[in-house]
C-alpha cells in the first residue's frame, strides 16, 4: 500500500502545483450551478431535492473527466518520465492504481465542493438527505468509471488531445446507450437480451438507480468491475506501449 500512497501523493501534489486544478474546480462548480439552478429549474420545480443536479452530472462528466484523465499517462510518455517511474521498484499495477486514485480523489473533492447546493436544498425545505448522499456516492462511483476508461486511453497515446477526444467519445457512448432513443433503435428487432445488455452497459442506468436512493449492490458492483477491468487494461497497455 505504501507504493500506491507514494504515487498518489505525488500525483495530487502535481495537480495543485499548477493552476489547472483550481481552474478545473471552478469550471466544474460554475457549470454544475448553471445546470442545477437554470437549466434544471431548481427553484421553479418547488421541490427540495438535488434531482436537477444529479440529472446533469453525467453530461458534465463527459467533458470534464476526460480533461483530468488525459494527462495521466500521455504526459509521462511524452516527457520520458515514464522511464524513471517504471524502473522504480514498484509494480505496474501499483502505479496505475495510485495515479487513478489521485484523479478519483480529485474529482471527489470537486464533487464535495458542490455542497452549497445541498445547503440550499436543506435551507429551503426538508430533502431526504439519505437520497442525496446516495446520489453523491453514485456520482463519485460513476466518475471512477469514466476515469478508469480515460486512464486506459491515455496510456495508449502520447498525445493528450487524442486521449481527451477518445475518452469523451467512449464515455458518451456509454452514457447514451441507456437512453430511450438508443433503446428504441434496438427494441424493434433485437432480441430482448441484447436490448437489456445495451441498457445495462450504460452508466446512466446504474447511476440513476443509485441516485434515486436505491443502493443496489449490483449497481456498485457494476462500477467496481468496470474500474478494476479498465485499470487492469491500463497496466497491460502501459507495459505494451511504454517504450514507443
Amino acid at each position: 500500500m505504501n507504493a500506491v500512497n507514494v504515487i498518489l501523493k505525488r500525483e495530487l501534489a502535481s495537480y495543485f502545483a499548477t493552476p489547472v486544478a483550481y481552474i478545473f474546480i471552478i469550471i466544474f462548480l460554475m457549470l454544475s450551478g448553471v445546470f442545477t439552478f437554470y437549466l434544471g429549474q431548481f427553484f421553479e420545480r418547488g421541490q427540495a431535492d438535488l434531482t436537477a443536479f444529479f440529472n446533469f452530472i453525467p453530461w458534465l462528466y463527459i467533458v470534464l473527466v476526460p480533461a483530468v484523465s488525459m494527462r495521466l499517462w500521455s504526459e509521462e510518455r511524452r516527457s520520458g518520465t515514464i522511464e524513471l517511474l517504471m524502473t522504480l521498484p514498484l509494480s505496474t499495477f501499483q502505479i496505475v492504481f495510485g495515479k487513478f486514485l489521485a484523479a478519483w480523489l480529485f474529482i471527489g473533492l470537486a464533487l464535495a465542493l458542490t455542497f452549497p447546493q445541498w445547503v440550499t436544498a436543506n435551507y429551503l425545505g426538508a430533502p431526504d438527505n439519505g437520497v442525496i448522499l446516495a446520489g453523491y456516492l453514485g456520482a463519485w462511483f460513476m466518475s471512477g468509471g469514466f476515469l478508469a476508461i480515460g486512464s486506459c486511453l491515455s496510456a495508449a497515446t502520447k498525445n493528450q488531445i487524442v486521449a481527451f477526444i477518445l475518452t469523451l467519445v467512449v464515455c458518451f457512448v456509454l452514457v447514451v446507450s441507456g437512453f430511450p432513443i438508443v433503446q428504441d433503435v434496438f427494441s424493434g428487432w433485437a432480441p430482448l437480451w441484447l436490448v437489456d445488455a445495451v441498457a445495462n452497459i450504460s452508466f446512466l442506468t446504474h447511476f440513476n438507480a443509485i441516485s434515486r436512493g436505491v443502493i443496489d449492490l449490483r449497481d456498485l458492483v457494476y462500477f467496481a468491475v468496470l474500474i478494476v477491468a479498465f485499470l487492469y487494461a491500463t497496466a497491460l497497455v502501459v507495459d505494451m506501449k511504454k517504450a514507443d
Binding site: N2, A3, V6, I7, K9, R10, A13, S14, A17, T18, S79, G80, T81, E83, L84, M86, T87, L88, P89, L90, S91, K242, A243
Partner: protein, 312 residues
C-alpha cells in the same frame, strides 16, 4: 554481478540489439561506446527492466529480470537518457518522491538527500521548480535520483551530456569516487570519457559488440599506437629517409610545423631506434613523444567497417 545472455531486442522488423552476451563484476566501471543508434540505450533499458527483451536473459545480482524485476530494480540506480524529471515538482520534492518510492523514510531519507545533494552540488536550487532549471542542474538532479538509495549498481545513460567542461569533470570525479564494490555502467559517445573513468570499454554498433576490453587495449588497436612524434629544428630530407629505412617503421608522415609522425609496423616499440637515428644525424630535438593510441581513430575504424558490412 550482472549477467546478460543472448540478449536480443527487435522493434517491428528492426533489430536494435542482436544476441549479445556479457557479464559485469562488482568493481568494474563499464563504458558503452558506440555511434547513435548502436543499441546502447536499448541495452540499458533492458538491464534496468524498463524494456523486456525479445529473447535472452538479464540477471542482476541473481535476480532474473523477467521473473522478479522489482527485487533487481531495488539495487539499481538509473539515469535514463535525457535525464527526465517531473517539471512541476521542486528538486527537494522530487528527491523525496524517489526516496519514498524506494521505501526510505523519515530521518534516513533526510540524511540521504542531504548527502546526495552535496555530492552533486544541488544545494542552491533545492526549492526551485525543475522546469526552471538549466540543463546541467537537471542532469545532476537525475544523477542524485540515481544515487539516492546508494545502489550496488549504477546505470547512467550519457551522464555528462549537456554539461559544461567543469561539470563534466565533476561528474567523472563522482563516478571514479564511487565505492569499489559497485558496478557502474555508463554510455557515452565522448571517447576521452572512457579512458578517464572506465576500467572496461565495450563498443557497440548495429546492435552487436565489436570490442570488449580495457581502454588501453582499445587504444592499442589504433594505428597511432606506439607511433612516435618528433619535431626537430631544421628538418632535412635525409632524416626522413633515414627514419623510413628503419626496420620496424611502416611509414613517416610529415605534419604541420615540420612535425613528423613515425608509424611502427604492428605497433612495435620504435623509440630506441629513432633515438639512434636522431643522435647519428645530430638533430636538435624540440619535441619527442610516444602515442598511446587515438581512441577516435579506433572507434572510427571499428564502427565504420561494421556499418559498411551492414550496407553491403
Amino acid at each position: 554481478m550482472i549477467s546478460v545472455s543472448n540478449l536480443s531486442k527487435s522493434f517491428d522488423d528492426f533489430r536494435a540489439v542482436k544476441d549479445i552476451s556479457f557479464s559485469v563484476e562488482a568493481g568494474e566501471v563499464l563504458g558503452f561506446l558506440g555511434p547513435n543508434g548502436a543499441g546502447k540505450s536499448t541495452t540499458m533499458k533492458m538491464l534496468t527492466g524498463f524494456l523486456s527483451p525479445t529473447s535472452g536473459k538479464v540477471s542482476v545480482l541473481g535476480h532474473d529480470m523477467s521473473l522478479d524485476a522489482i527485487s533487481a530494480q531495488e539495487h539499481i540506480g538509473y539515469l535514463p537518457e535525457g535525464a527526465p524529471s517531473y517539471g512541476d515538482m521542486t528538486v527537494k520534492a522530487s528527491l523525496v518522491f524517489i526516496g519514498e518510492a524506494r521505501g526510505i523514510k523519515g530521518k534516513e531519507l533526510a540524511e540521504r538527500i542531504a548527502s546526495v545533494v552535496e555530492r552533486v552540488a544541488l544545494g542552491s536550487v533545492l526549492s526551485k521548480r525543475i522546469e526552471n532549471l538549466s540543463k546541467g542542474f537537471r542532469r545532476r538532479l537525475g544523477l542524485a535520483q540515481a544515487l539516492l538509495h546508494d545502489p550496488k549498481i549504477l546505470i547512467l545513460d550519457e551522464p555528462t551530456d549537456g554539461l559544461d567542461p567543469n561539470q563534466k569533470h565533476q561528474v567523472r570525479e563522482l563516478i571514479r569516487n564511487l565505492s569499489e564494490d559497485k558496478i557502474v555502467i555508463v554510455s557515452t559517445h565522448i571517447l576521452e570519457e572512457v579512458s578517464a573513468v572506465c576500467t572496461r570499454a565495450m563498443i557497440l554498433a548495429n546492435g552487436e559488440i565489436l570490442f570488449d576490453g580495457t581502454p588501453s587495449n582499445l587504444a592499442s588497436k589504433s594505428g597511432f599506437h606506439n607511433a612516435v612524434t618528433v619535431r626537430v629544428t631544421n628538418l632535412q630530407p635525409a632524416l626522413i629517409s633515414a627514419l623510413e629505412a628503419l626496420r620496424n617503421v611502416e611509414r613517416v608522415q610529415q605534419g604541420e610545423l615540420d612535425q613528423l609522425v613515425i608509424f611502427p609496423i604492428d605497433g612495435q616499440s620504435i623509440l630506441a631506434d629513432i633515438n639512434q637515428v636522431l643522435h647519428a644525424q645530430g638533430c636538435q630535438v624540440e619535441e619527442l613523444h610516444v602515442e598511446v593510441g587515438r581512441l577516435d581513430d579506433v572507434f572510427r575504424k571499428l564502427t565504420m567497417s561494421a556499418t559498411e558490412g551492414e550496407s553491403a
